[in-house]
Symmetry: C2
């Protein structure tokens, strides 16, 4: 009897989805300009002929789809923190970034940051803005449900996002979890005091 190990079981993944997925991965690791069609094709094994079939508007459309995917995914993850207290919400959000850093061995970061600091396209900047805004809104609501005032929830949500983003960049630069954990520890402390 032979056992077949399927490395990645994507039940209904199309070539298009694979490309979006690959673009997101490369975006987070290499930045916007360094995410080329060639790289995406190499990573996904997708055929070159498919690019402009699936993304007639070219690269912007692919990147835009990748950002949209990132927004959906992260919002799903954040949504699971509903009903928890401020400390748990903070820890849960930080855990998402911690996993990204560790799994990628400090080579990956936030796709929205990568795009924001490198794009000249209004549309792509808007897509990145949409990500930050949705996190902001969701986290603010969660913190309010956890008992924080509107003002306090808003401010702490924004700070949590900003500090996480910055900490991820610092840990990528250092190739060490240390800066991230230092910031994480501080934030959890703050949340627990609320």
């Amino acid at each position: 009897m032979t056992i077949i190990i399927v490395k990645d079981l994507h039940v209904s993944s199309t070539a298009k989805d694979e490309m979006i997925e690959g673009a997101l991965k490369l975006l987070a690791m290499n930045g916007l300009q360094a995410t080329s069609f060639s790289d995406v094709l190499e990573l996904t094994g997708a055929p070159r002929g498919s690019i402009y079939h699936h993304f007639p508007k070219g690269k912007e459309q692919l990147i835009s789809a990748a950002l949209k995917l990132s927004e959906t995914r992260t919002n799903e993850a954040i949504g699971k923190l509903a009903g928890k207290n401020a400390t748990e919400i903070t820890e849960g959000f930080l855990e998402l970034w911690r996993q990204l850093l560790i799994r990628s061995q400090f080579t990956a970061g936030c796709s929205a940051v990568a795009v924001t600091v490198a794009t000249d396209s209004k549309d792509l900047l808007d897509s990145a803005t949409s990500i930050f805004r949705s996190w902001q809104n969701t986290l603010t609501e969660l913190f309010k449900s956890a008992g924080l005032s509107h003002q306090s929830a808003t401010q702490f949500a924004t700070t949590l996002i900003a500090a996480s983003e910055g900490a991820v960049v610092m840990s990528r630069a250092e190739k060490s979890i240390e800066p991230f954990e230092s910031v994480a520890s501080y934030l959890v402390q703050q949340a627990s005091a609320k």
Copy 2:
């Protein structure tokens, strides 16, 4: 009588310095890959023939010099906060970023972040790391002089840097000072409680 207005009076600026200066500006605005020699030449008016005269190792050398310039400048600015209390140090550091955002109308950010999220060069990543590390060290010392414990100073310095970096990115995305000010307000509050 004719009045001659000199737009930029750099007493002893060489073509090389102008190019480094220009590269830093473009890096902060457009990101790493989008900072091309052509753009630097256009911005500075430097002659194309000078590039490989001044930077024989090419683009990496130019970017590396720009990061070094950024490190020197920011450290000078941070150094001026010596002897101040925790609140003033925090406000002073934040003010540097606020000025960058406002002067550039939310088009510029941190060059070290731009490089970290977009480079594949070990050397350039190290240059960025050096920037974060020097801020970290300097701010930690300042906070210790202001009366904080070693542990507390370290953690707050790291968080201040991370949160500032993240807030700058968010404000660039939103093209509004709001996210930055929300984070800044929170951080100053925290510093004042120490």
